[in-house]
Every structure is written in structure tokens, then in C-alpha cells.
């Protein structure tokens, strides 16, 4: 069993009456609700939390891409990945991922992922989501009818750019490049493990099966509701004669650990409420642009993650209901490890993507939950699936061969001049004199 500590990086200070007053946390959320100085604190707290998870022995640090969204403040997860590459040592950097149809040209993703893999010494897991409808269609203006075609073409280009040893020309429908010549290239050869996060599109299962990619179901509904999608994925794998290796699947689950079950409710219930009622408050008109989901997926009856139907299912649920229905796995270490074992077995899932900072949860609680889980749950779950090979974690360079960043020194090593004249050195002066 492998554990990825996954951060959404929410804005923690949406107003009490957010749901009543505004129609959506995503796409058209008012800008005056954002305070950049608060954002400064949050980004730094959140990076601290991911770095702490590295020290606590989690296998992966998860980050993802969202736009114009108060529950996910990472328009560019690669920036966060770069920060983590320098300040962490052990865990995989799990970028889940870049919505590759949005990058023009998509070769940008091949380049940046290669950079992350090289900086981190081969610790990257490379995620290629289609991206949500809110992100791709509404925020970035992609035509719903052609989004998937564009995505597949971008995937082809990126994989070819990593695989080819010589320069080539790429004549796609959406991208035409005369000189594709990737520089730098990733440490992991032929490429970092590929992860495909999905919300439940049936095409994604075929795609993952065909390429031996990890399929990650990023659900906020928990393992009981998620079983329908997991079963669909495993049925597809079985039908195509693929091995049912639990490590070929990731599953996102809200997890929170406290000293006792009662303490968990006291600690985490308000933040869970914030997450489900404010962070996931998405205007239904943005949930699913026509053509974003294929007719095949719609007919498979898989409900969306956000929008009116999703909100309706959560309507009036209390802490107890969230636990019973599996949205949240929370409680004492014993409760959590037992439920998780049952959950992961029922899903046949080897990669747990853990949402441990939930909504408005403050740093001290995040730290407590993260540490309690690492000390008192993780060791009891490690044995699960030990008879299967994990082919979807990163394969980094030997730890001895990896560069160690110089320790940070915050004190200035040279005096800082406040006088403008004193700061100008001779070289600059002679250049400007020309």
C-alpha cells in the first residue's frame, strides 16, 4: 500500500454566508474575496505541510491544477512542484497534473515535467488530466466538442517528445511544430510514470488500460460511492485482459485522524462542513459544458462531482452521515486504519491519495492528523497488496547520487545598501554609459 499526501490548497477564509450569497466557488467567484497577503501565508503553510509529509514518510506529495477556484489555488502545480523538488528528499512529486490540452504548445508540459524530474532526481509522477469542465471550457475557453481530441493529440506529442532520441516534426491538427527537440529530458527513462486522474469518464478507463497508465479516481464522495467507478475500471481492465494490479489505481479519500473518535468530530467536523458546503459550491451551469462528457459516459449514469445533483446528494448530511456514507474516513488511529483497510480492499486500490488538509483546517490540526496517521496507521496498512509490483511510483536516482540543496540562510551575507548610488556597481554604470 502506498500513500500520497494530496493538497488542494484551498482558500481558508470564504465568508460564512458564501453559499447563500454567491453562486460559485469556481469560474466567477468574486475577486474581492481574495487577499494576496492571506494567500502568501496560505501558500507557505501549505508547502510546509507537504514538506512535513515528506519527513513523515508519505510516498508521494500530490498537487494539481485548477483555475479561478477558491478550493484549489494552484493554476500552475509545476511551480509548487519546483518548490517541493528543492525542499523535499524522499517522496515522489505527484503532479496530478497538467491539463495538457490547455498548454500551447503542449510541448511545454514535456519540458516542465522534464525539469521537475531532473531537479528532483527522478521523483516525478506525471499526471495528464483532461481537466474539469470549469477549468478547461469555462476558464480557459476550450471548445467542449474538441477538448478530448486535442487532449489525445497533446498526449501523443508529449510522449513522443520524451521517447524520441532525435529531433522530429509534428504535424498535428491542433499543434504543428517543425522542430521538436526536447532539452532537457527526464531522468526516468523512457519517461516518468504516467497518472491519469479522472472524474469517471468511461473513455479514460480504456485509455489507461491501453497504455498501462495509472488511473486515479479523484472523487470527493468517498470510497462507498466511488466503488461504482472503481468496478467499472476493473471491468474494463478485465475485459481487455489486463492484470488487475491494485497499484494501477489511485483513489482520493478524505482522511482525518485524532486521539479518539469523539475528538476527531470536535476537531474536523467544522472544516469538513466548510469543504463540502463552501469549497464544493459550484454553479450547476459550469459543472458540465455540453460535449465535455461524452454521450457514452452520460449514458453510463456516472454523476458529476459538482453541481446541483452532487449538492443534492450531500444536502443535510451531518458528521455521522459523512462517516457512514464513506465521504470521510475519520476517527482514532484504530478506526481509521480499519476503515481504510476495508475501503482499499473493496476498491482493489493500491495508491491512496489522501486529502488531509480539508477546507478551513488550520496548520496545527493538519500537522497532528498527518503525524498520527504516519505513526499509528501507515505501518498497519503497509502490508496490503505486498504481493503486487508497484510499477507506477517514481524510480529516482540513487539517493547517494542526488544533489543536496545548500541549507537556507536567511541572514544577508553582505550588507544591504539602502542608498541607490551605492548599489550601482561599476559594470552596470559602464553598460548604461554606452
Amino acid at each position: 500500500m502506498k500513500f500520497t499526501w494530496f493538497h488542494l490548497m484551498p482558500y481558508r477564509y470564504l465568508p460564512e454566508d458564501f453559499k447563500e450569497k454567491y453562486r460559485s466557488v469556481w469560474v466567477d467567484i468574486p475577486q474581492n474575496l481574495y487577499d494576496p497577503t492571506v494567500g502568501h501565508r496560505l501558500y507557505n503553510d501549505y508547502l510546509d505541510q507537504l514538506e512535513f509529509a515528506d519527513q513523515m514518510g508519505y510516498d508521494g506529495l500530490g498537487i494539481n491544477e485548477h483555475h479561478q477556484n477558491a478550493y484549489g489555488m494552484m493554476p500552475s502545480p509545476n511551480l509548487m512542484g519546483a518548490a517541493l523538488a528543492r525542499r523535499t528528499r524522499n517522496a515522489d512529486i505527484v503532479v496530478l497534473g497538467n491539463s495538457i490540452a490547455l498548454y500551447n504548445p503542449p510541448i511545454r508540459v514535456a519540458e516542465e515535467f522534464a525539469m521537475l524530474d531532473v531537479i528532483s532526481g527522478g521523483r516525478l509522477r506525471a499526471g495528464f488530466p483532461v481537466g474539469t469542465s470549469m477549468d478547461t471550457n469555462f476558464c480557459y475557453g476550450e471548445v467542449p466538442a474538441t477538448l478530448r481530441e486535442k487532449y489525445y493529440e497533446a498526449h501523443e506529442l508529449i510522449m513522443k517528445a520524451w521517447a524520441e532520441k532525435e529531433m522530429f516534426a509534428f504535424n498535428g491538427k491542433y499543434t504543428k511544430l517543425r522542430y521538436v527537440n526536447l532539452w532537457p529530458k527526464p531522468i526516468q527513462q523512457p519517461h516518468p510514470p504516467i497518472w491519469i486522474p479522472g472524474g469517471g469518464s468511461v473513455e479514460t478507463w480504456d485509455f489507461c488500460a491501453k497504455h498501462d497508465y495509472n488511473y486515479s479516481f479523484l472523487s470527493y464522495f468517498g470510497y462507498i460511492a466511488g466503488k461504482k467507478v472503481a468496478d467499472g475500471y476493473w471491468e474494463t481492465m478485465a475485459k481487455l485482459g489486463k492484470p488487475l494490479n491494485p497499484y494501477s489505481m489511485g483513489f482520493a479519500q478524505v482522511v482525518a485522524v485524532a486521539e479518539t473518535d469523539e475528538q476527531a468530530e470536535r476537531d474536523y467536523a467544522p472544516h469538513m462542513d466548510y469543504f463540502y458546503n463552501r469549497c464544493l459550491h459550484v454553479y450547476d451551469g459550469f459543472a458540465d459544458a455540453p460535449g465535455y462528457r461524452t454521450v457514452k459516459t452520460i449514458k453510463a449514469g456516472i454523476l458529476g462531482q459538482v453541481g446541483d445533483q452532487a449538492a443534492l446528494r450531500r444536502e443535510g448530511l451531518k458528521w455521522k452521515d459523512f462517516l457512514e456514507q464513506g465521504y470521510v474516513i475519520a476517527g482514532s488511529p484504530k478506526t481509521v486504519r480499519e476503515r481504510l483497510r476495508e475501503a482499499m480492499k473493496s476498491l482493489n486500490c493500491g495508491h491512496l491519495m489522501m486529502l488531509m488538509q480539508l477546507g478551513s483546517m488550520p496548520p496545527e490540526l493538519v500537522k497532528k492528523s498527518t503525524e498520527l496517521f504516519a505513526r499509528e496507521c501507515m505501518p498497519y496498512l503497509r502490508d496490503l497488496w505486498s504481493d503486487h509490483e508497484d510499477k507506477w511510483s517514481a524510480k529516482p536516482m540513487n539517493v547517494e547520487a542526488r544533489a543536496i540543496p545548500a541549507p537556507v540562510q536567511f541572514e544577508l551575507q553582505l550588507p544591504k545598501h539602502t542608498n541607490g548610488h551605492a548599489r550601482t556597481n561599476g559594470a552596470t554604470e559602464s553598460r548604461s554609459a554606452k
Partner: protein
């Protein structure tokens, strides 16, 4: 009469409504498509031979994967007109269909004998943004589309089926239609018609509902100022769905212009 027409060796299979006889009239529907009950077409059929094809991706028409943009769409209509042996016809297009009708005429100015653009899409004014129909919830659609959203017609238009099968069928058909329309309209319905409109040489009527809340009537000027020999006419108490909401006045205006 419902007919089916195969084009280009089966690349497109087109479901089409035909009415009446006389001077040919090609009707190009809007993003919502034809509803199966489109009485104004029968009315126009009293004086014309009306052809009203479902665009590929709408109804039973297939081949939308062969159309990426407005140029492909216009060439599709050229091909269809050749196949129907009406290389030149009166062309009436509504909303997105008005945008495509203008492209049909601009790319080959022998195609339209006379052109009627009914509340056409295709232009964008920053100071008068067109509401995002794609993001509208079902109950928000009728108020955008009708002068009188309380009328039985508008109510029927916005009705949500209670039967699950019917709801699913409606949802799937909406997805098919709007996802095709997104190729021309998403995220902003401007694909460069303003550059090409000067090529339209046929007499052109730009027809608008006075209380159109989707595309404001002041957009008419964007067309008339670019198309020589065009004129504007506004129909009272009509919203964006004017052929449906004011059928009589609409048909009178069209027939009067085509006469």
C-alpha cells in the same frame, strides 16, 4: 415531409424536413435545432419549396466529426445545395443558423438569391456581451429566449420532463446539439464573419425581435453596415425565438422580402 439525404458517399447522412413547392428556400436552424414542431416552416411552404435540414450532430443527422469550423459548415451547405439541385436559393438562417447562412453567402456569393438573417449570431461587442447560453440552467433559458416567458409556448420550451427516460433523452440530445454548436459559438460567437461579410452580394434582410434578450437588437447594425444592399426590420413583442413567438409577423416579413 421528412426525408434523408446522403452526402459524399455516406460521410453525412442528413435528416431533412421538406414543405410545399415553389421557389426554393433553405432554412438553417439555430443552436437549439429544429423541434419537430416548427409551424413557421409549413407556413413558408405555402409560397416556397422549403428545405430544413438538421445540421450534422442534430436529430438523426450524422457526420459532425467532419466539421471543425464555420468554413467546413458553409462548405457542407454548399455541397447539400448542389446535391438538392438548388445551387442558388433563398436562404433563411436563425441565430447560429444566421451566422452560418452569412458564411454560406460570403464564401460563395452566387449561393443566396436572397438572404434573411434572423437574429444572427457571429458578431461580438465588448460593451454588449451576449449572455452565456451554454452556462444557463434549463429554467433560465426561456426568459432569455422569449419576449413573454410566461406564454404557454415559452413554458413548453423550458419544460423539464418528469419521466427519467424522457429526461435522459432530452439531455443527451441537448448535449449532442450544443456540443456541435460549441464549434462555432464557444466561448465567444465570433469566428471572423466581420472580415468576410463584405463578400455577401445578395439582397439581405436582417430581422430581429424587438425584445431579444440573448442577442440585443442593436447587433443588427453590425450586419447592415457590412453588407451592401441589406436592410433591417424589427418585429414587435418578439424575443430571440421570433419565428416561433411571432410566427405570423415573421412569415409576413420573410415572404414580403422574398417576393
Amino acid at each position: 415531409m421528412k426525408t434523408t439525404k446522403e452526402l459524399l458517399g455516406g460521410k453525412f447522412s442528413i435528416e431533412m424536413w421538406e414543405f410545399g413547392s415553389g421557389d426554393p428556400l433553405l432554412f438553417i436552424h439555430g443552436a437549439g435545432g429544429l423541434f419537430g414542431v416548427d409551424p413557421f416552416l409549413e407556413e413558408l411552404g405555402k409560397t416556397h419549396k422549403v428545405y430544413a435540414p438538421h445540421f450534422p450532430g442534430y436529430g438523426e443527422s450524422t457526420g459532425s466529426e467532419h466539421i471543425d469550423d464555420v468554413i467546413d459548415a458553409a462548405l457542407f451547405y454548399h455541397e447539400l445545395m448542389d446535391e438538392l439541385k438548388i445551387p442558388t436559393a433563398n436562404i433563411v438562417g436563425h441565430s447560429m443558423g444566421g451566422m452560418l447562412a452569412a458564411e454560406v453567402a460570403a464564401l460563395d456569393n452566387s449561393r443566396a438569391k436572397k438572404l434573411v438573417l434572423v437574429a444572427p449570431a457571429g458578431m461580438w461587442l465588448d460593451e454588449h456581451p451576449i449572455p452565456d447560453l451554454f452556462a444557463a440552467k434549463l429554467d433560465e433559458v426561456a426568459p432569455l429566449m422569449f419576449h413573454d416567458p410566461k406564454s404557454p409556448m415559452a413554458q413548453a420550451f423550458g419544460a423539464i420532463p418528469t419521466d427519467f427516460k424522457a429526461l435522459e433523452a432530452m439531455y443527451v440530445e441537448r448535449v449532442k446539439r450544443f456540443s456541435t454548436a460549441s464549434k462555432f459559438l464557444w466561448p465567444i460567437p465570433d469566428r471572423g464573419l466581420k472580415k468576410r461579410a463584405y463578400r455577401i452580394k445578395s439582397p439581405t434582410l436582417v430581422l430581429w425581435g424587438a425584445s431579444d434578450k440573448l442577442i440585443a437588437p442593436l447587433y443588427a447594425k453590425e450586419f447592415t453596415k457590412r453588407i451592401a444592399g441589406s436592410k433591417e426590420q424589427v418585429i414587435a413583442e418578439a424575443g430571440h425565438m421570433l419565428p416561433y413567438e411571432q410566427q405570423e409577423a415573421f412569415c409576413k416579413a420573410v415572404n414580403g422580402f422574398l417576393k
